[in-house]
């Protein structure tokens, strides 16, 4: 029983860690977007306000998949152990 609980907890922690590898995607994408925004501002300095606000909106939408990964990781760390251990106890114990 203890080994089973240990395996479940360990796999939850491992899954949370692997899930956060998805944090690379939004970082690369948003960095590229900010670079393009800087190029646009350098080309036409008076469009700074409009370019900046559009860039923020685009970054927030592009961050969605990173947030999905974060939510899964938080679920795995805080919610999953109790649920899984409860299921196991009802099934085995």
């Amino acid at each position: 029983m203890e080994i089973a609980i240990a395996i479940v907890l360990g796999c939850c922690a491992l899954g949370a860690g692997i899930a956060m590898i998805a944090g690379i995607g939004p970082a690369i994408g948003e960095g590229y977007a900010v670079g393009q925004a800087l190029t646009a501002i350098a080309r036409q300095p008076e469009s700074k306000g409009s370019v900046t606000s559009t860039m923020f909106v685009g970054c927030a939408v592009a961050e969605t998949t990173g947030i999905y990964a974060l939510v899964i990781a938080i679920l795995l760390i805080f919610v999953a152990p109790n649920t899984f251990v409860g299921i196991m106890q009802r099934a085995l114990g």
Binding site: V71, I74, F78, V79, N82
Partner: protein, 167 residues
């Protein structure tokens, strides 16, 4: 201090979803009735008042333009009238001066003609007087030459012959 249970950090509860849905709908109606309706009504009233003010200003401007055109017409008519009067007076003055000139000319020519007639008459009288004088003088001379007295009818016939030749 009460001890209370807590939910899990992510847990789905259908009733909470429905309550939250109702919350948003209620807030939508609250905002629409208490914020958007009064402010939009006030903005509409303001827009209508501005339009009405602009309309009044437009009609006043049109009226002013209309009045101005009428006054300009009147001024122009007065100008024309004045000019007409002056022209009329001038033509009349010219006519009168022409008349006077013609009158004077006529009078002058009349006087001239009369003077000439007078002169002719005087000339004829003078010639006649001269004729008589000459007749007398020649009679005297002839008396002296001939040495005798010439009778009245004789010398009358002689003198007439001479004057006929003279003429």
């Amino acid at each position: 201090m009460l001890e209370t249970q807590a939910l899990d950090i992510i847990s789905v509860n259908i009733w909470q979803i429905l309550i939250s849905l109702a919350n948003l709908a209620i807030l939508f109606f609250i905002l629409k009735r208490f914020l958007f309706k009064p402010v939009q009504k006030m903005l509409e009233a303001r827009r209508r008042e501005v339009e009405q003010l602009y309309g009044e200003a437009e009609t006043a401007k049109e009226q002013a333009e209309h009045d101005k055109s009428i006054y300009e017409d009147k001024l122009a008519a007065a100008d024309d009238e004045a000019r007409d009067v002056v022209r009329h007076a001038m033509t009349k003055a010219n006519e009168m001066s022409d008349e006077i000139l013609a009158d004077t000319g006529r009078k002058v020519s009349e006087m001239k003609a009369r003077a000439e007639a007078d002169i002719a008459q005087e000339r004829k009288r003078a010639v006649n007087a001269l004729k008589d004088e000459v007749a007398d003088l020649s009679l005297d001379i002839a008396e002296k030459v001939i040495g005798r007295e010439i009778g009245e009818e004789d010398h009358r016939a002689l003198i007439d012959d001479c004057i006929k030749d003279l003429k």
